[in-house]
Every structure is written in structure tokens, then in C-alpha cells.
């Protein structure tokens, strides 16, 4: 059960940073707060007393999103449901809606933020693979005197390990910036024990862009979740596909390269075989997800998968 001494709802970033810098040890930042209360229960943290909870959900500077220079800057209060309900975001971030529809459920998506999901640094977080695929960068802010000082960290460097990030004391995530991937096809593969409210055993996000004729991979982005302590971007595999003639054989060969990336100690064999299948499926689904392009495979699936 959770108890606390103070619950703060600042409405400016300055106030939030002041409160957070002054918060006694053991205090917590929350945004959607959807992970906080389940954590403070028997079998997990149990009885938890928190001196101060600083709730960022009303901080004006963290709301909304902007686009500029090929990047989308999502305020840290952007909730998961936005990737389903906002048509501009769906177009700009084509893998996010697929990921979002696998994330928790409609009700939790209304509260839970993408930034919070990244901050929790769970090895099985749904958010990290698509953000990594979109070259995600986190904007972090802290106070030096009265001045707000910002720095940026790539998502791949942000997560250090399970539950550990580079966030320093007094620091707050203010935004997540992502590549604008308009024109790409996106996809997300996930498996758990059921279809709703499920923690993934493994997941894979993909973004694919072909040339106008649908013959050549112009760009491929692939990222895995659930297979290691940190987000994994499949750079080697992406290079192997980029600029190449699209064929099932090529996709299958590339997918097999993914097995080596599985570092998770538990259920490794299962994760390895799932990941190989997922990478292939993610690429094919993302190809199919591209609007206005009909993909022209060089071979047929039967000849390729021998």
C-alpha cells in the first residue's frame, strides 16, 4: 500500500524542477502514475511510504507536440492513446499506432505516457523498440540556480539496464524527439500470454521505406525489445537490407542475423526463435503498411523460404 506525505501538481516546468530538486530522498516523479500504484503492492514493493510525489501531468510545457526539421518533438506528457487518436501522429510515426494497440489497454493508454514508459527502463517495455527505430532522443532538464538547463540523450544511451537510466537527481524528462517517418510503413510484433494487458516476452518494431516502384529498400529500421537489458537496434541487419532489391530470400537471410542479438538470460532459446520470425514478419508487415506503394518482390515466398 502506498502512502505519501505530499502530493504536488505543479503547472510550470520551473515549479516542477524546483519541487523535484527539493524533494526528500525516496520521492518520486509521476506522469500518468499507472506504474506507481501497482508497484506499491504485496509481491512487489509492498508497503511504500513516499515523502513527495511530484506529478508532472499538468506541467504546461510538457503538453502537445511540434514538428520541425524532419523531427517530431513529443512533450513528455504525450500519452499512448495519442498514437491511436491523432491522425497526424499516426502518419508521422507509422510504427507507433501498431505498438500502441498492443500497449496495456485503452484505459491505461489514456493516462500512461511514452516518456514514463522509457523512464521505467523495463527490459520488456513496449516503448523502447519503436522509439529506437525512430532514432529517439530524450530531452532532459534540470535546474542550475534558477535556470533551466537541458541536455539530450539518445534512447539507446538513456537506458543503462533494468530500471536504471542516466537520469540524474533533480532531472526531468521534458520531451522525446523522433524522426518524422512519414511515407514509411510501420509495424510491431509482440507475443505474450494473451492479447490485451500483456507484458511482452519479445517484441520487434520496424519501419520500412521503398522506392516508388516497390522494388528496393530505401531505408529499413529494426529494433528489438524483451531480449536484453537495453534496447537493441539491428544496425548490421538494416545495412544488409538498405539499397537492396526486395526479395523474400533476402528478408529471410537478414532475419536469421537477429538471433545473435538475443542476450536475455531467461527463455533465451524461445526468444531467439521468436525474434528471427518476428524480424521477417515485421519487415513484411511494414512493407505492406506503406501507403501508395505496391511492393514488388523479386521472388515468391515458397522459393525463398526453403
Amino acid at each position: 500500500m502506498l502512502t505519501c506525505d505530499n502530493y504536488h501538481l505543479p503547472i510550470t516546468l520551473q515549479d516542477a524542477l524546483v519541487l523535484w530538486a527539493a524533494a526528500p530522498e525516496g520521492s518520486r516523479l509521476v506522469a500518468g502514475a499507472t506504474d506507481l500504484l501497482p508497484w506499491a503492492r504485496e509481491g512487489r514493493a509492498g508497503e511504500v511510504h513516499i515523502p513527495a510525489l511530484v506529478d508532472l501531468s499538468r506541467v504546461a510545457e510538457l503538453h502537445g507536440y511540434t514538428t520541425a526539421k524532419g523531427r517530431v518533438r513529443l512533450g513528455a506528457n504525450t500519452v499512448w492513446q495519442a498514437f491511436l487518436t491523432d491522425s497526424a501522429l499516426r502518419r508521422l510515426l507509422p510504427c507507433m499506432p501498431h505498438c500502441s494497440s498492443w500497449f496495456a489497454d485503452d484505459q491505461i493508454r489514456e493516462q500512461a505516457t511514452l516518456a514514463g514508459n522509457l523512464a521505467n527502463a523495463s527490459p520488456v517495455a513496449d516503448g523502447t523498440p519503436p522509439v529506437a527505430a525512430l532514432n529517439g532522443v530524450l530531452e532532459l532538464a534540470h535546474l542550475e540556480g534558477d535556470t533551466i538547463v537541458a541536455r539530450t540523450v539518445a534512447v539507446s544511451d538513456f537506458v543503462l539496464g533494468p530500471g536504471r537510466t542516466v537520469l540524474e537527481p533533480g532531472e526531468i524528462i521534458t520531451a522525446v524527439t523522433l524522426d518524422s517517418a512519414s511515407g514509411y510503413g510501420g509495424s510491431f510484433q509482440k507475443v505474450g500470454q494473451r492479447r490485451s494487458l500483456v507484458i511482452s516476452v519479445a517484441c520487434c518494431a520496424a519501419l520500412v521505406k521503398t522506392d516508388n516502384t516497390g522494388c528496393v529498400f530505401e531505408d529499413v529500421r529494426l529494433s528489438l525489445g524483451g531480449v536484453g537489458p537495453r534496447p537493441i537496434r539491428l544496425n548490421r541487419l538494416e545495412s544488409a537490407l538498405r539499397g537492396e532489391r526486395i526479395s523474400h530470400g533476402l528478408i529471410d537471410r537478414a532475419a536469421h542475423m537477429a538471433a545473435a542479438e538475443v542476450a536475455s538470460r531467461s527463455r533465451q532459446q524461445y526468444r531467439r526463435s521468436v525474434v528471427v520470425s518476428f524480424v521477417g514478419a515485421a519487415i513484411r508487415d511494414a512493407l505492406a503498411d506503406q501507403s501508395d506503394v505496391v511492393v514488388n518482390f523479386q521472388d515468391t515466398e515458397e522459393t525463398a523460404s526453403v
Binding site: T3, N6, Y7, L37, W102, Q107, I108, R195
Partner: protein
């Protein structure tokens, strides 16, 4: 605990009041405002019994600190319709029979309402996705889907409101689809379950549970807890005035651990205090000294000589062994054309009724100890309590509160004894509400089973002999194990007449969470093995699975496995109907999925692909924008 001033609008009524900073919106609704239609099923956002609208968006109120709702418009189940009225969706739930125990139903109605508010034309797959955060354990969801689709049609004007009315009766009320007489109270959130009831001067109880699987209790010191301000009483097994012990068959479980603990989560002591937090804080002040004992966690190990013994009365750790012997098994196998052997196992399963255990006890004006709880068996509870409390049976009264799902899990008298003792000790009403985690760790499970199976058949598929041996982990206490073993044995070899059989079922004590009564009472575990064997045999003999079952099925006059002569048996008609209804394509069961022609009819669902709200699975097609 710091205080918090909140101002918000709930069901169109402005509310401004002081509460505590740590409270969740759910606590504020239930405890401060007595809006108990929103339920707590899990406290972790996993079940949806607490779903409410906040500023028009459906959220789980157990995940929301109340501070987050300040300044917002909150709509709860109580606010959907005027008192005494039901919304179209609620009426549709009533019509289709979508509410059973009703505990998930306020949340489910909210989710259905949200689904149709978000998209009044939502298709069935989208409806399912939008209900995906709400668990129902009773209905199998099917009637709920039917209700939402019916409501959608009425709201859209595609169907008249008349479809929501009671069906006219024909010649008899037997066979009539009477709408449930008890549903409106559940659909409106009006029904009070045990956790929803408030009594004047009522105390809150919390239970200290064992952190060890097997340990001797050296001492329990409750003095510091008893001295705390706000604590009205602490109870341990010392407070039991009569003969301690409960259980459905063998009374081997003390109301609270007596001398030793036998499983993690066993009740050791309990505190009754002015409020929940005080009671929980007092638990931390109870000092229990344990001497850990080696435990046994595998039923087959527990049966070995020299294994750790849990109960003095059962030196071999056997709770119950049931043997069935019929015919001559050796002769049967000798005649067989084929003999098949396989091992099967099933897991421990949690009942997961959405209503965690809860209850209230008090001593009434006639000196009767009254216990109100969602018990599945108040008759037996009264008998046991009378002995435990050492009171005449008419000085113990059990009242059944609405049961928010049971499935066998609420037969055991897990906490009613503690409540009665606390009420007797304090002479005040005492309420106990389990958390979900407490319910899971303390309540009995479905018996896990290991079955060794040997079946001999003739070439034509006739079963000549069966040897069936099942070992079940009964956990730390007997509970319903004896009955479960009996039923498993009686039903073991399925609805088939078998001339020669040898069946043994055995439940064993271990230091695991106890196993007990759970819907089918052993019948499922046993018949899972038998029905798998039937298909293995059908494949081996190249017989259609329906056909091999027909060859062996019981008929009127058949002798059952316990040698009872059946006066009636309907399996012939059941199999015929199943074959017809499923459009079954005849053939032996050797991996013919790829070639069969009976797949994927209108009577199957489309595979779940997620993203149904986007036409064709592609984002961007719904054409609706929402400010978020």
C-alpha cells in the same frame, strides 16, 4: 498522513472536501463519498472493476491518485442513469444475461459505454478491443458482446427499444428466457457486496501472514501492536475458545496458525483497528519469532519415506487415496491389440473471482455472533464456527452477502473465524477486505495433477482396460482434497464403459498453497487425460475421434467405473449434435488441419489482429480527431 483539498465534479454534483494525499480516486469514491458501485478487483489496473470516466475518458480509478482528478469531471456507474433507471446499454446487459455475479459489471458497463461513445458504429472486433481492459470471470464475455451490439443497434435506431423488453412467456416459465431478477441492482452498481457495506462504529481488520512455507512459531508478541492508538484488538490462535480447526472434509486447519505455519500466506495474527492504515501499521508491530523448518514442495517427494511431515495425524502426508477396481485389468491388457501409455500434467489454477474475500462480523443484541460474508456454504460455516467458538449453534448466525464469483473458492472458511473472534473480542462490528494478492496467496487453488495413463484397445477402438494413476498436490491443508480425489476417481476414465480398470487418485500434503474446491472438483484434470488418450488412440487405430467415442460411450444400462448401472445416458445424442453443429469433417486425427474443409465458418471468430478500430488494420481510416 498529509491532507489534500480536492474540488471536483462527480456525476454532475460539485464536491469539495478534504481527503488524504495518498488516496486513489477509487478510495475517494468508495470511502469518502460512499459511491461503492466502482469496485476494487485487483488494485493494480489489471481488471477494470473500478473503471470511471474522468473528463470523458475512461480510466482505472485504482491507478489514479485522487489529486489527479481535482478540477475534473468524474462520472461513475451511479451517474449513468437516474435512480431507478437503466441506460440503453444497461438494459441490453439485462436483456442478454450479460451480468452473472455482477462484480465486474459496473466496470464492464462503463467500458461498454466508453466504447460506444468513442465509436457508436464500432464493430465487434473493435468492441472487444475496447473492453480488453476489463476482466470478467463468470460470463465468458459472450453475452456481454451481444449486449453491446444490441445496445449499439438500439442507440443507432437500427432496432426498436422493444428488443430490450422482457420476452413474452409461452406456455410455461420453464424454458423461458426470463431476464435475471437480480441484474438491475448489479448493472446500476447499487448492490452492496461485503466490502461495500458500512456499519456504525465498524473496525477494519488486517491479517499478518506467514512469510515462510514451513516454520515453527516460537513466540508471538502482540503487546506493541495492542498498545497502539487506534488498535481495538489483536487476535491469535490463543483467542480461540473452542475446538480449533476447519476444512470441508478434514478439520486440519486452525483459524490462525497454531504452533507452526505450513504455507506462505497462512494467517498468523490479525488486528482490528479504527481504520485500515492503523491496522496495517499495527501488523508491523507484531513480533513473531519463527524457527524455519525444511519444507516439501513436490507431492511425489512428500510421499517418500523420511519426507518432511506436515500434520501429525498423517505421517505419510497422504490426504486421501481413492481406489477403483473393476474387472480384470491384466486380462484386459492381454487381449488388447494396442496398448498406449502417456503421462499428463495440469497446473495449479487460481479461481480469480473478481470479488476478493471480504466480510463483516458483529455480536448482536441477542448475543448471537453474526458473520456476513460471500460464503458458498454458510450452512457448514455455522456448524464449524459453533464448535470453534464454543457457542450453541443458534448463537452463531451466518448471512450470505452477494457473492462476486466463487467457483468453489469461497467454500473454505478462510477468514470468517478470524472475523468472529475479533468481533467477540472488541464487541464492535469488524470488517475485513482481502487485497487481490492476499486472496491469491491465501485461498485454495485447483489441484495440480500428474496422471500416468495406460489404455489397451481392440482394433475396432473398443477400450479393454485402463490403468489410471493420479497424484495431486493438496498443499498445506486438506480443504476439499478428499472430495476432489473421489470425484476425480469416479469420473476418471470418462463417459465410456470400460470393463477392466484400475484407478488410483491420491492427494498429498506439501508446503505449497493449498488446493481445494474448484469448478469440476477433479473432473477436469482426470478427463483432460482421458480425452487426450482417446485422440491418441483414434490416431493409432485410424478411427474418427467421434467414432471411437461412440464405440465406447456409456448408454442406459451401462456400468460406470464404480459399477453403478445408469438409468439414463445421453452421450449418443450429445455426440450427434456436436458433430452436426460443428459441421465436423470425418477422419482420423493425424494432423489434417491443413486439408480439412470444415474450418473458418460463420460460427467462428476472426483471429484477433489488434487495431480493429482502423479499417483494414491501417491507421488513419477512422477520420475522427480528438483533442487529448
Amino acid at each position: 498522513m498529509s491532507e489534500l483539498w480536492v474540488e471536483l465534479e462527480i456525476n454532475n454534483r460539485k464536491i469539495a472536501r478534504k481527503t488524504q494525499a495518498h488516496k486513489r480516486l477509487l478510495d475517494f469514491l468508495r470511502d469518502d463519498l460512499h459511491l461503492t458501485g466502482s469496485k476494487e478487483g485487483c488494485g493494480a489496473g489489471e481488471c477494470g472493476t473500478c473503471s470511471v470516466f474522468v473528463d470523458g475518458r475512461l480510466v482505472k480509478s485504482c491507478l489514479m491518485p485522487v489529486a489527479k482528478a481535482s478540477g475534473c469531471k468524474v462520472e461513475t456507474i451511479e451517474g449513468l442513469a437516474a435512480p431507478g433507471q437503466l441506460t440503453t446499454i444497461q438494459q441490453a446487459f439485462h436483456k442478454t444475461g450479460a451480468s452473472q455475479c455482477g462484480y465486474c459489471i459496473p466496470g464492464m458497463v462503463m467500458a461498454a459505454t466508453s466504447a460506444l461513445r468513442q465509436n457508436p458504429q464500432a464493430g465487434i472486433e473493435e468492441i472487444k478491443e475496447r473492453l480488453g481492459g476489463n476482466i470478467c470471470r463468470c460470463t465468458g464475455y459472450t453475452k456481454i458482446f451481444e449486449a453491446v451490439e444490441l445496445a449499439r443497434a438500439v442507440i443507432a435506431g437500427d432496432q426498436s427499444e422493444d428488443v430490450l423488453a422482457e420476452e413474452p412467456v409461452g406456455k410455461s416459465y420453464i424454458g423461458h428466457n426470463q431476464r435475471r431478477i437480480d441484474a438491475p441492482a448489479r448493472l446500476s452498481g447499487r448492490l452492496k457486496y461485503a466490502a461495500d457495506i458500512r456499519m456504525t462504529d465498524m473496525l477494519q481488520m488486517q491479517v499478518l501472514r506467514s512469510p515462510h512455507a514451513h516454520a515453527r512459531i516460537v513466540s508471538i508478541d502482540t503487546s506493541e501492536a495492542e498498545a497502539m492508538a487506534g488498535v481495538a484488538g489483536v487476535i491469535t490462535s490463543e483467542d480461540v475458545p473452542g475446538t480449533d480447526g476447519f476444512g470441508v472434509f478434514v478439520h486440519d486447519q486452525p483459524v490462525m496458525a497454531r504452533g507452526k505455519v505450513r504455507h506462505v500466506g497462512e494467517a498468523v495474527a490479525a488486528v482490528a483497528a479504527e481504520d485500515l492504515i492503523t491496522a496495517r501499521q499495527a501488523l508491523a508491530k507484531i513480533n513473531v519469532v519463527y524457527e524455519e523448518l525444511p519444507g516439501v514442495f513436490d507431492p511425489e517427494e512428500a510421499m517418500q519415506p523420511g519426507a518432511v511431515v506436515l500434520h501429525d495425524y498423517a505421517a505419510d502426508n497422504i490426504v486421501k487415496h481413492i481406489p477403483l477396481r473393476k474387472g480384470d485389468v491384466a486380462a484386459g491388457f492381454a487381449e488388447a491389440d494396442i496398448i498406449l501409455e502417456e503421462n499428463f500434467s495440469t497446473q495449479q489454477v487460481e479461481h480469480a473471482y473478481l470479488e476478493p474475500e471480504a466480510g463483516i462480523a458483529y455480536v448482536d443484541a441477542d448475543d448471537v455472533v453474526v458473520v456476513i460474508s460471500p460464503s458458498q456454504n454458510i450452512t457448514h460455516h455455522r456448524q464449524m464456527l459453533s464448535r470453534i467458538l464454543d457457542r450453541p449453534i443458534n448463537k452463531v448466525r451466518c448471512i450470505m452477502s452477494p457473492v462476486g464469483g466463487g467457483f468453489g473458492g469461497k467454500e473454505d472458511m478462510l477468514y470468517q473465524g478470524m472475523l468472529a473472534l475479533a468481533a467477540m473480542k472488541t464487541h464492535r462490528p469488524v470488517q475485513l477486505v482481502f487485497t487481490r494478492e492476499e486472496s491469491i496467496v491465501a485461498s485454495a487453488k485447483r489441484h495440480p495433477s500428474r496422471v500416468r495413463y495406460k489404455m489397451g484397445l481392440k482394433r475396432n477402438g473398443q477400450i479393454l482396460a485402463i490403468r489410471f494413476s493420479m497424484i495431486s498436490d493438496g498443499g498445506a491443508y486438506g480443504m476439499s482434497s478428499e472430495g476432489v480425489m473421489r470425484k476425480a476417481a469416479i469420473l476418471s476414465c470418462g463417459p465410456y464403459e470400460v470393463a477392466n480398470l484400475c484407478v488410483d487418485t491420491t492427494a498429498v500434503y506439501t508446503n505449497n498453497t493449498p488446493s481445494g474446491a474448484f469448478r469440476t472438483f477433479g473432473g477436469m484434470q482426470a478427463q483432460f487425460a482421458t480425452e487426450s488418450m482417446m485422440d491418441i488412440a483414434a490416431e493409432a487405430l485410424e478411427i474418427d475421434p467421434f467414432e471411437i467415442r461412440r464405440v465406447n460411450m456409456m448408454l442406459p444400462g451401462s456400468k460406470t467405473h464404480t459399477q453403478q448401472e445408469l438409468n439414463s445416458a445421453s452421450l449418443d445424442r450429445v455426440l450427434e449434435a456436436a458433430e452436426a453443429a460443428s459441421r465436423w469433417e470425418t477422419g482420423a486425427p493425424h494432423m489434417r488441419g491443413a486439408t480439412r474443409s470444415d474450418l473458418g465458418g460463420a460460427d467462428t471468430r476472426a483471429p484477433c489482429t489488434l487495431g480493429a478500430r482502423f479499417a483494414g488494420g491501417r491507421p488513419g481510416a477512422d477520420g475522427k480527431e480528438r483533442v487529448w
